[in-house]
Structures are given as structure tokens and as C-alpha cells.
């Protein structure tokens, strides 16, 4: 492992060139650069086998990197004492069935070095937060998947961590449970903690994440805030009640205030701009042409569209995003 990079107080996680090889054939991570700001909710996306869990496990010292330069909470990756300030919920976690929910939270609190008195108070507080107080004295083996996830989240927060890594926290959880977990994540963020969320549920991530990173084949395909990632694909769509003549396209394009590309697809006019001022002349012209405007909408690609594009066209750059977008940026 390489020496830590210079401390960057505004970053909770700062990774440069993380590699992980399994033998000579499998190259799970191929130089991951990733920066997570303090106090944000950061989404880690990627298809199965992209290396997301491997990356999270490297941060938690469960897996040893082949090569890694970077810091977690200002300390080099792999420093054990730093983990006292980090909470973690692994994917497919298995708590001992002979323990109760309260004992699970208390046990991992003790393992993280939380004093007994503080642990007891914090356990009650967290069980209340995750909605498990009523079942806290039942054995874990009697819990549903959703209840286990809630207890898992509670144990990840027991040490009052600065950084929380949640690997598929909504896995196997029903919609109500997912909503509750989302609220918990928002609550955790509200307390000023940094959250790294690894999930397949893109709509969930879209609702809570400030920024995301999409990992494809062991590399960061794109990284940034949703606004940054979708900046190049934003457009206005004007839907009319009847199809417009194709020849009107040139006329309308000349009237767009900022000269953005314009196209007509049947009854829909698409203008690739984010500026509402720029489309006002087009709306007036359509009115002059006698077209009846049914609907005007500012469109941006969903996270799912971004994800699919990154996975299916790994080489395509996303305008507005880059590999290291936040180094030195204002947080």
C-alpha cells in the first residue's frame, strides 16, 4: 500500500489509483479515483462485478488493495484506528442468530470502542431511530430481512461515526422500508455525517444522493453531482396538439435565443438548452403559426439513463463531469 496522500480536510474519502488484482487474471479495480466530500450523501453505482463492494471493502480493510494511494477521514487507507470513526453495513451481512437486536448493536458498539454507558444510551436512541425498539429484545433469527437491515443500520451508527458506508441498505426491503431507510439516510446527513451509499436502486439514490460515481469494469466511468452529470443532456420539450411541418424546424431554430440545436419530431419540438429565456421566442413563433401548445417541460436524463449510458457506452464522456471534479473545489 502506498503512503497516504496529503490530508484534505474537506474530503471524507480521497482515493487515487486504487487497484485490486486477484491472481494474474482478475483485475477487479483498475485505478479508481474517487473523492467524497464531507457531509454529503455519495452514491456508488455500477453493474454487478464492477468492483463497488470491493472498493468499499478496501476502505473498511476487509480486502487488501494491490495498490492504493488515498485517505479516509484524513488518514491513510487501511489505518485501523480510523475505523472507530467509520460506520459500516456490509452487503449480505449475517448477524449471529442467538443475539437480540439490542445485543447486536451493543456488541458492535463495544467492538468499535464505545464506552459502556454511552453505548447503552446510543443503542436506545438508534433503535428508536430505525423503528426497532419494539422488537429489540427478540432474537435476530426471528427477524425479517427488513428488520435485519434496520438493525444493521443502527449498528453502523453506534459509534457516532463521521462517515457511514452502507452497502445495499435497501436490499430485500419493501417500499415502506425503503422510504424509512431513505429518511434515516437524510436524518444521518442532517447530523452532518458523510454517507457513502452503494445501491442498485437508482431511483432511491437519485432521491438522496448529492453526488454519484458510476463504476464500470473496475474504473470510474463518470462522477459528479446529478446536475453536473446531466448538464449536457438537458432540454426543453414543447408538445403541440398537432404535428408540425418539418420545414418549421429551421424557422424555429433561428429564433432560439442562445442558438441551441432544435429539432422537430412530429408534434414535439426539442430545444437543447437549459435557459427558459431562450425558448420564449420559439413559443411566440409557434403561437403565430397557430399551433396549440399542450405542454412545455424541462427535461433531464434520469440517473437510470445516465447509468445505462455509462455501462453500455463506457467510453462516452459525460459533459459536466470528470474523473476528479471536486479536488480543491468549495464544499
Amino acid at each position: 500500500m502506498h503512503a497516504a496522500t496529503a490530508k484534505t480536510p474537506d474530503l471524507a474519502i480521497d482515493l487515487t489509483g486504487v487497484h485490486k488484482r486477484y491472481g494474474k487474471k482478475v483485475h477487479a479495480l483498475r485505478g479508481v479515483d474517487m473523492q467524497v466530500r464531507r457531509g454529503e450523501v455519495f452514491g456508488l453505482l455500477g453493474p454487478n462485478g464492477a468492483g463497488k463492494s470491493t472498493l468499499v471493502k478496501i476502505l473498511m480493510t476487509v480486502i487488501r488493495p494491490t495498490k492504493c494511494a488515498g485517505t479516509v477521514l484524513g488518514d491513510r487507507v487501511g489505518k485501523k484506528s480510523t475505523l472507530a470513526r467509520v460506520g459500516y453495513l456490509p452487503e449480505h451481512h449475517a448477524f449471529a442468530g442467538y443475539l437480540t437486536g439490542r445485543q447486536v448493536v451493543d456488541y458492535f458498539g463495544a467492538m468499535q470502542g464505545v464506552p459502556r454507558k454511552a453505548r447503552r444510551a446510543r443503542t436506545e436512541e438508534l433503535l428508536e431511530l430505525v423503528g426497532m425498539k419494539e422488537w429489540a429484545d427478540q432474537k435476530v433469527r426471528k427477524y425479517s430481512k427488513g428488520m435485519r437491515q434496520r438493525v444493521g443500520i443502527a449498528q453502523s451508527l453506534i459509534a457516532d461515526p463521521e462517515l457511514v458506508l452502507l452497502d445495499e441498505p435497501t436490499d430485500g426491503v419493501d417500499p415502506v422500508g425503503r422510504r424509512d431507510i431513505r429518511r434515516i439516510v437524510e436524518h444521518v446527513k442532517g447530523e452532518g455525517r458523510t454517507v457513502l451509499l452503494n445501491s442498485h436502486l437508482l431511483s432511491e439514490l437519485e432521491m438522496v444522493c448529492d453526488r454519484v460515481s458510476i463504476l464500470v469494469k473496475g474504473q470510474v466511468a463518470t462522477q459528479g453531482s446529478l446536475d453536473e452529470l446531466t448538464a449536457g443532456d438537458r432540454r426543453f420539450e414543447i408538445r403541440c396538439t398537432a404535428p408540425l411541418p418539418a420545414a418549421a424546424a429551421t424557422d424555429l431554430a433561428e429564433r432560439v435565443g442562445d442558438g441551441s440545436p432544435t429539432s422537430i419530431d412530429g408534434s414535439v419540438v426539442r430545444i437543447n438548452t437549459t435557459d427558459p429565456e431562450a425558448i420564449q421566442p420559439v413559443l411566440r413563433r409557434l403561437d403565430e403559426m397557430g399551433a396549440v401548445i399542450e405542454h412545455v417541460e424541462a427535461k433531464k436524463p434520469s440517473l437510470e439513463e445516465l447509468f445505462l449510458r455509462a455501462v453500455e457506452q463506457p467510453g462516452s464522456a459525460t459533459p459536466g463531469a470528470d474523473r476528479c471534479p471536486v479536488k480543491g473545489a468549495q464544499s
Binding site: K57, M60, I63, Y88, H92, A96, Y98, G113
Partner: protein, 392 residues
């Protein structure tokens, strides 16, 4: 640091507490102690509750000796080191494989605790099972023997470290295999196989040692008899020649008989010498095998010798079964014709057994506990190395 260790210990106790086999073994231990408690030494024999079984006990047998005998021979060497040990292995074999299985180990590794310390703490928690079992058993025996027979011998508590040591020799292998294979059944089978190998090696070493010592004793006895016969025959020859010389008017010098003349006079001398040579050859042929087995025994943990240590510290009836010195000494008869081959062989065998018992009972502590703990340290070192470097 203490907080984390204590948390793992408490968790280990909860894990054992949740296993039915733990309580079944504890209950059986209680029954064994109760079984000891209903016996007593009486003038007419062994008392069991209100009945007396007429047994000719060796003279001087006291309640202390009887209870110590029960404790060491049945309690420790049969119950704790065989039956309870197997139950203990079955109960604890899953601790390490369960610990390193997916979904469980990640959380432990993600805590601010070093991997080596985490593994070793988990390993020693695995020994908690046998520690609790043997502690309850020994304290139970101490109380029962004290209350029933007035025998308050705190040396019974030596069984706790001795049996825990014995169990740890096996459990370290169980932990290593469990770590490598993540399979409870594989770790259990490999451990029992190793235990069997240790048993075979120990038994072979004992048998080879006794046979070699018996062969050497036989050489000594046969040579002693041959020497005795030679001296007697020489005297007979000289006496005959003296008588003959006196008949020839005397004054003739009596010639000393040669070896050939003595052997010709008594063919049994050659027979004894041949037997001695044959026994020496047997001893010599056993030596390389004995040395090989001895090396294997030296390397492997001494499970049997460790539990036998209790015999050194607790006076028991077992001592009364050791052959007397008189049984291992062969008295050469005056008449050469009286020598019985079977008698010589039996005496040599007894001498061999006695030598084996003496060898076992005089081995230094370091060669029993020290080499066994060295074996355990090597196994645990390998396990720590694997655990430290493995990705989960």
C-alpha cells in the same frame, strides 16, 4: 482493548449458551460427578449407595486414593479427555468457520481491532467451552469428594489447566482447518483424524519402547544365565579333572577347561548365548523404528502424556498396578535344567513394561507440555498469517 476482548468473550459465551450440546455435556458431567459421589471405600469392598460390592482392594487404600483414582482414571482420562472432548469439538468446531463465513467476518474486520488479535481472541473464546466444562466438573468433584469422603484435595483443580491444554492441542488444528476450508465438518474430521494419528503414534512408541526394553532385558538375563552356567560348568569340569588326577596318584597339574570344553560339557550355555544374540538382534532391529516414531511423537502434541500428568500429582490406586521391582528381576536357578524359557520371556516383558511406565512418568514437563505448546504455537502462527493476509 479490554472492552473489545470482553465483548468477544461475552459473545462467545452467548454462542455456547445457545448451543444445546453445551448444556447436554454439562448435564452429563453432573451425572458423572453424582455417580462418583454415590461410591465409597469400605472394609468389605466398594460401597455404592446402600450396597457393598465385595472387592479385594489392595491394602492401605484410602478414600482419597479411591476418589482420586475415579477422578483421574474415569473422570479425566475417559470422560473429559474422550467423551467430553469429542462433544466439545463437535460444539466448538463451527466457531471459526462461522466467524469467517461471508456476511459475518466483514463487520468484525471493519472494527478498529487488529486481525491477529481478533483471530486469537476468537480462538481462545473457543476454549471457553472446555474451560467451563472442566472447571464445573473439577469443582463438582472437589465438593462431592470433600463432603462424601472428607477428602478436600485442591490438586483436583490441576485438571483445569491440564485438560484445557490437552483440548487446545486439538482445537488449534480445528481452527486452522476451519479457517482454510470454512467448513465445520471438514475441520472436525481432520481434527479427529489427527487425534487418531497421535493416538497411534503414542501407542506405537509405547509398544516399541516396551518391546525394545524387553529385548534388552532378555539379553541381560540370557547373558547372566550363560555366565552363571559357564561358571558352574567350569567348576564341574575342574572337579571332575581333580578327581581324575587324584586317582592317578596326584601331583598332576589340573588344566583350566577351555570355552569349547565348557560349551561341550553343557550345550545349554550355547543355547542361552544364542538366545541373547537373537534378543540383541531384535532390539537392534526395533531401534530405527523406535527412533522414527519417537521423532514423530516429539513433533506431535502429547495428548495422552498431558492428561497422564495428573497421575504424577494425585496419589491414586493406579500406582498399585505398576509391577514391583521383584517381578522384573530374574533369579537364576542353581540347576541349569530348571530354566524355563517362558519364565525368562515373561520377566523380560514385565521389565519392558516397567521401563515404559518409568519412562512415561519421568519425562520432563517441557518435553510434554513444552513441545505440545510449540506445536500449537506453530499451528496458530500459520493460522494468524493466513487470517492476516486473506481477503474476505
Amino acid at each position: 482493548m479490554i472492552q473489545q476482548t470482553w465483548a468477544i468473550v461475552v459473545d462467545g459465551y452467548r454462542e455456547l449458551n445457545a448451543k444445546k450440546l453445551f448444556w447436554v455435556t454439562m448435564l452429563l458431567s453432573g451425572l458423572v460427578v453424582a455417580g462418583f459421589g454415590i461410591t465409597s471405600v469400605k472394609a468389605e469392598g466398594i460401597g455404592v449407595l446402600w450396597y457393598t460390592i465385595p472387592v479385594d482392594l489392595p491394602p492401605g487404600v484410602t478414600s482419597d486414593m479411591w476418589y482420586n483414582f475415579l477422578f483421574v482414571t474415569f473422570g479425566v482420562q475417559i470422560w473429559l479427555t474422550w467423551i467430553a472432548a469429542v462433544l466439545g469439538l463437535v460444539t466448538t468446531a463451527g466457531i471459526i468457520p462461522d466467524f469467517v463465513s461471508g456476511g459475518s467476518v466483514e463487520l468484525s474486520l471493519s472494527k478498529p481491532i487488529g486481525r491477529v488479535r481478533l483471530f486469537l481472541t476468537k480462538y481462545f473464546v473457543g476454549l471457553l467451552f472446555v474451560t467451563l466444562q472442566v472447571a464445573v466438573f473439577s469443582i463438582g468433584c472437589l465438593l462431592v469428594f470433600g463432603l462424601r469422603g472428607g477428602s478436600w484435595d485442591p490438586r483436583l483443580l490441576l485438571a483445569i489447566p491440564i485438560v484445557v491444554c490437552f483440548f487446545s492441542y486439538l482445537y488449534c488444528v480445528c481452527a486452522l482447518v476451519g479457517l482454510i476450508t470454512r467448513s465445520t465438518i471438514t475441520s472436525l474430521l481432520v481434527t479427529i483424524l489427527l487425534w487418531f494419528v497421535i493416538f497411534v503414534v503414542n501407542a506405537s512408541e509405547g509398544v516399541l519402547f516396551a518391546q525394545r526394553a524387553a529385548a534388552e532385558a532378555r539379553v541381560e538375563i540370557d547373558e547372566r544365565i550363560a555366565a552363571s552356567m559357564t561358571a558352574a560348568t567350569r567348576e564341574q569340569v575342574i572337579a571332575a579333572r581333580t578327581a581324575m588326577a587324584e586317582g592317578d596318584d596326584g601331583g598332576v597339574e589340573i588344566a583350566e577347561p577351555t570355552d569349547e570344553e565348557i560349551r561341550a560339557q553343557n550345550p545349554l550355555i550355547q543355547r542361552r548365548r544364542d538366545a541373547a544374540v537373537q534378543a540383541a538382534a531384535t532390539a537392534e532391529s526395533l531401534t530405527p523404528w523406535y527412533r522414527a516414531v519417537r521423532v514423530a511423537e516429539f513433533v506431535l502434541p502429547k495428548t495422552g502424556d498431558t492428561t497422564e500428568l495428573l497421575n504424577r500429582y494425585l496419589p491414586t490406586l493406579a500406582e498399585t498396578f505398576i509391577p514391583d521391582d521383584d517381578d522384573t528381576e530374574f533369579a537364576v536357578p542353581e540347576e541349569a535344567d530348571d530354566i524355563d524359557d517362558r519364565q525368562i520371556r515373561d520377566t523380560a516383558q514385565r521389565a519392558g513394561q516397567r521401563a515404559m511406565i518409568e519412562d512415561a512418568s519421568t519425562r520432563p514437563l517441557w518435553s510434554i507440555i513444552g513441545t505440545s505448546l510449540a506445536f500449537e504455537a506453530v499451528i496458530l502462527g500459520i493460522a494468524c498469517l493466513i487470517f492476516r493476509r486473506r481477503d474476505f
